[in-house]
């Protein structure tokens, strides 16, 4: 059986991601070990928190993750997705891993619109994306974030609207990122995790 390594860099709700992947039928381990990451059949880069801290804490593993991403699929979740992008303006402009073209910016301030974007919102799903196989247009998933990814249409798998339309999931080859939390999105989220497992 193939092994998914959930990268442990000290941030994020790793336990839910682990259980979600297991429930979806994968063998998954949480690890901060560079050799385990390098030997993985697929990676998950989780994360809640601030971009600058996330990149800082990922620092020692950055080269390993970058190298692995050339060989095996990577799925970034929430902050993990944002770190896959080229840059973020959270806490001052800062470079990300640059594995997916595009950047991350704060939601504009609009009276009456609360930030963070917190709760269940819908996906507009682009056809033909294997990660979204069997997930209907308009499905609800759980979001909690103040910054969003801006990516070219070619790299955008789903769009969601809050204050402005934004890329709620992105892709560059076999590097995938989802802004929402599949491990917190009930049956829809578990289906996405199963689809990811099937891609390995």
């Amino acid at each position: 059986m193939k092994t998914i390594v959930i990268i442990d860099y000290g941030l994020g709700n790793l336990r839910s991601v682990l259980r979600g992947l297991e429930k979806a039928g994968a063998r998954a381990v949480v690890s901060a070990d560079t050799s385990a990451i390098a030997a993985a059949d697929a990676l998950v880069l989780p994360g809640v928190g601030a971009f600058r801290d996330g990149m800082g804490m990922l620092g020692p593993l950055e080269g390993t993750v970058r190298a692995a991403a050339r060989e095996v699929p990577v799925l970034g979740i929430c902050l993990g997705m944002q770190m896959l992008m080229e840059s973020s303006d959270e806490g001052g402009l800062q470079a990300g891993l640059g594995l997916i073209p595009g950047d991350v910016r704060r939601f504009p301030r609009v009276p009456g619109m609360k930030v963070p974007h917190m709760g269940w919102n819908t996906l507009e799903v682009r056809e033909g994306e294997p990660l979204f196989e069997g997930i209907a247009d308009g499905s609800y998933v759980y979001f909690v974030h103040s910054y969003y990814a801006s990516a070219a249409p070619a790299h955008t798998m789903t769009t969601t609207e809050y204050i402005c339309p934004f890329a709620s999931s992105v892709r560059n080859g076999s590097v995938y990122g989802v802004q929402f939390h599949p491990e917190k999105s009930g049956a829809v989220g578990l289906r996405l995790l199963k689809n990811y497992i099937d891609l390995i």
Binding site: G12, R15, G20, V48, G49, A50, R109, P116, N121
Partner: protein, 268 residues
């Protein structure tokens, strides 16, 4: 297609069991937290909140194990509050499987905890719980809130489970916690908590309109209409309730169907 309003069952947990009382007193046993949370998950709850009302240092292990069991079985967002005093406590709670932590008394006694926690874990997982009580003696510098009967009061932040008045103006405190990096406010009014007479609309609205972060209304729900009022009159982003769900008066789904029929966007 829009961000939906959330319905959040809250489980008050004492020594690993769900309890419920009125005005924070007269606690009754209402079951196993993970079983109840799983039931709410099936009913379509948008999130679940666990509040550890034991909140003693030696009891951290009990609540962490409850969080762990819940995180293993539930695939919905989980907020945990009670007894969280430090960045280390937050780290442990998130590690155990919580998605957000709720800070209450510690935020009042040491507001810098909010800044440090938000800087470390991101604003989106830091909820500040604010317990309030109406103070009828208007004072200079306090934000006036007009009650339905026309009286003008100000709302005072209370801590230690509602027993300790702080002299802090609730509306200003809400704005301060936002500035310090809170991602959400969980507002509980001692005026209505446990009464089943409805949310405290005047303070819910004043705070929701006074900040740019989501506000969860809490305390006092007894009927389906109360949820509607919380969203429409109170301008809440989410409504939290405990006993109406624990004792099966209605299900989360019933609440959502009621709201959907009245054009409130909910996830069904």
């Amino acid at each position: 297609m829009a961000l939906t309003r959330r319905i959040i069952p809250c489980l008050d947990i004492k020594d690993g069991r769900v309890v419920k009382g009125t005005h924070f007193e007269g606690l009754r046993d209402a079951g196993d937290p993970v079983e109840l949370a799983a039931r709410y998950n099936e009913q379509g709850a948008d999130e679940v909140v666990f509040l550890d009302i034991t909140a003693s240092k030696e009891n951290r292990g009990t609540i962490l194990s409850v969080i762990g069991r819940a995180a293993d079985q539930l695939f919905l967002p989980l907020t945990v509050g009670g007894g969280i005093r430090s960045v280390d406590d937050i780290q442990q709670t998130l590690r155990a499987g919580a998605d957000k932590v709720s800070i209450n008394t510690s935020a009042v006694t040491d507001p810098s905890l909010i800044d440090r926690a938000a800087a470390r874990f991101g604003t989106q997982c830091i909820v500040v719980a604010i317990d309030v009580r109406a103070n009828p003696v208007m004072q200079e510098g306090k934000t006036p809130v007009v009650l339905p009967d026309g009286r003008e009061v100000w709302y005072e932040v209370v801590t230690m489970g509602g027993s300790h008045p702080t002299g802090i103006d609730a509306v200003r405190w809400a704005q301060e916690v936002e500035a310090r990096g809170a991602g959400e406010i969980l507002l509980t009014s001692m005026e209505t908590d446990g009464t089943k007479e409805g949310f405290d609309i005047p303070i819910t609205r004043a705070i929701s309109e006074g900040v740019g972060i989501p506000v969860i209304a809490s305390g006092g729900v007894g009927t389906l209409e109360h949820f509607y009022d919380g969203f429409v009159l109170g301008k809440a982003d989410a409504c939290l309730a405990a006993s109406v769900f624990h004792y099966g008066e209605f299900t989360v789904r019933q609440v959502k169907e009621y709201l959907a029929a009245r054009d409130i966007p909910v996830r069904l």
